[in-house]
């Protein structure tokens, strides 16, 4: 199945309206295509949000009186029942309202007809050769040059619009109120100053006080900044890894969603993924960080072990010990005993930091929550096979 086909059928997939073959094809594609997987996650996030919107519009205060009056009019014709004692407590009714709201979510029907797909007509332009071949070649060459120039220009995605929310903002050392920042320029927010930068086609960056960054590149599909210090929050609607933040030896690629990075004066950073997913590239290694995870990064050392913001304190404490290398077997046991299903990506990230025997214990715990994908084995994980670790990460992320 191609990306285009998945794009067409994604809503059917999420609404459980595909037959088992199409469903399996979509799932196979989603497991291997970041772009489509992020579209899927975006849609799922939206529908999750919608499903949590309760029935909370209150009718007018006199509604019950009106309804009772109307019912009484009808009931007058019927025998009155003065001894009716069935009126229940308000508490019981409220509980029943909640139960009924929950129950009213009906199961969606499956196996419905797939939307008919129409292929795009392919245009062909027959080229007629005429006698002045040389002239045509010259014209084609000229067109190619113009096309290249137009293509290069159209790929440009700068300048980015800067809106000062509060205080003072310097762009390339000059103070600006509301302005734009172009490739190669620096931006600095002073104390108590904030700004919002709009990145065309991508989203926006909220820049906190005392933050400095350089706009390194601004092209379609490749927008990167170098964050020197401070804090930014990036909200990206782009489903491709089209926005990159660089600092020290780390390159962080974001794939949709919202994320916050804080870099201190020593180049140590805290990365928090509110939604979406990020890849940290460091010395040819790639580390995946999922939404709701925090990760500490420093210039030279390995990235910290990512953990969920809602993980319990004992679990986080043991993660820190392992991260620093100052841990005992007891730390591994504590980690395993306190891990919830939501913490398994942390356990997976711990595996490369511990010895082989401890890896087996961690693998068993992860396995108890999520089975590995096909072709991912205990032996491969223990030997730290990068492909298998990544495949297991994606499988867990998929199921989470």
């Amino acid at each position: 199945m191609t990306c285009k086909e998945v794009h067409i059928t994604l809503n059917d997939y999420i609404d459980s309206q595909l037959d088992s073959i199409s469903k399996s094809e979509v799932e196979t594609h989603l497991r291997t295509c970041d772009k489509c997987f992020n579209q899927y996650k975006r849609l799922r996030r939206f529908l999750d949000k919608i499903s949590k919107v309760p029935f909370t519009a209150d009718p007018p205060a006199d509604f019950s009186t009106k309804l009772t009056e109307e019912l009484m009019k009808i009931a007058e014709a019927e025998a009155p029942d003065a001894n009716d004692k069935s009126k229940s407590s308000a508490k019981k009714l409220k509980r029943e309202q909640a139960i009924q709201e929950k129950l009213s979510a009906k199961e969606r029907i499956k196996n419905l007809t797939e939307l008919s797909k129409k292929g795009l007509p392919i245009k062909s332009s027959p080229l007629k050769f005429i006698s002045k071949v040389l002239l045509i070649i010259v014209m084609l060459a000229a067109l190619a040059v113009v096309g290249y120039l137009v293509h290069s220009y159209s790929k440009k995605n700068s300048p980015w619009k800067v809106t000062v929310v509060q205080g003072n903002v310097l762009i390339s050392g000059q103070m600006h109120e509301n302005d734009r920042i172009s490739e190669g320029q620096d931006m600095l927010t002073e104390i108590n100053s904030r700004a919002i930068v709009i990145v065309p086609s991508i989203g926006r960056i909220e820049v906190e006080p005392i933050t400095q960054f350089r706009l390194i590149k601004a092209e379609d599909g490749d927008n990167r900044i170098g964050l020197e210090r401070g804090e930014i929050k990036v909200s990206s609607l782009e489903q491709l890894p089209a926005f990159v933040t660089e600092f020290k030896n780390n390159i962080v690629k974001f794939i949709g969603g919202t994320y916050r990075i804080t870099v201190d004066e020593y180049g140590k950073a805290i990365l928090f993924i509110e939604s979406g997913i990020a890849e940290v590239h460091q010395n040819q290694n790639i580390f995946m960080i999922d939404e709701n995870f925090i990760c500490h990064l420093s210039g030279e050392a390995l990235p910290g072990i990512p953990y969920r913001t809602d993980a319990n304190e004992i679990f986080i404490g043991e993660v820190k010990k392992i991260e620093s290398g100052a841990y005992t077997r007891n730390s591994i046991d504590m980690l395993i005993n306190t891990a919830r299903n939501l913490d398994v990506l942390t356990l997976l990230a711990v595996i490369p930091r511990v010895n082989e025997q401890e890896r087996v214990s961690l693998y068993d715990k992860i396995f108890s929550f999520y089975k590995p994908p096909p072709n991912t084995t205990l032996e491969g994980i223990i030997k730290l096979d990068q492909k298998m670790l990544e495949a297991y990460f994606r499988e867990i992320e998929w199921q989470l």
């Binding site: 975006r42 529908l47 709201e101």
Partner: protein, 168 residues
């Protein structure tokens, strides 16, 4: 299919025997759900109040023939949707800003606000499918002028529009 709780079965049985207070309890259990759906569909408090009352009166008139093997909540909701759509298509919808009355308090104002500003057909289909969980065929039963594919296309476009507005 959602099941009826023992309490709902008890109230329905009493109502079927003509017990008004039991029926008022049933109304109270379903009131917010019915009123909210009517308001999301019609954008009008007075109409929603009228629709809610008409819904419960219709339920009262027909409760003796209600089969307890079916979901009572879904039965009530189906009646309220039919009455809402009947009211909705009686008149052309007014355009312009919508004032949400102070006593109508939604938990997620942004989504509700966007919803109320959607064009009529987009709003109906989105509410019925994504809020009320009706499938395309059931929605088509409510909106006979639209084809299955048209309903689906409108829903997908509306989802995309709302996602971009909410910033997802």
């Amino acid at each position: 299919m959602p099941e009826n709780t023992n309490y709902i079965v008890y109230l329905v049985e009493l109502s079927q025997r003509g017990r008004k207070n039991a029926f008022l309890d049933l109304c109270e259990v379903n009131l917010k759900s019915v009123f909210t759906t009517a308001y999301r569909l019609t954008k009008d408090v007075d109409k929603s109040t009228y629709i809610s009352i008409q819904t419960f009166l219709t339920v009262w008139d027909n409760i003796k023939s209600f089969d307890l093997r079916l979901s009572f909540t879904n039965w009530v909701k189906g009646i309220s949707v039919k009455i809402s759509l009947h009211e909705l298509f009686k008149y052309e919808e007014k355009s312009g800003p919508i004032e949400i009355p102070s006593h109508v308090v939604f938990d997620n104002q942004k989504i509700e606000h966007l919803l109320l500003h959607l064009p009529r057909m987009e709003r109906i289909i989105f509410v019925l499918h994504d809020f009320e969980r009706y499938n395309y065929h059931e929605i088509r039963d409510f909106l006979e002028d639209l084809s299955y594919d048209e309903i689906k296309t409108i829903l997908i476009d509306t989802r995309n529009f709302l996602m971009s507005k909410i910033g997802i």
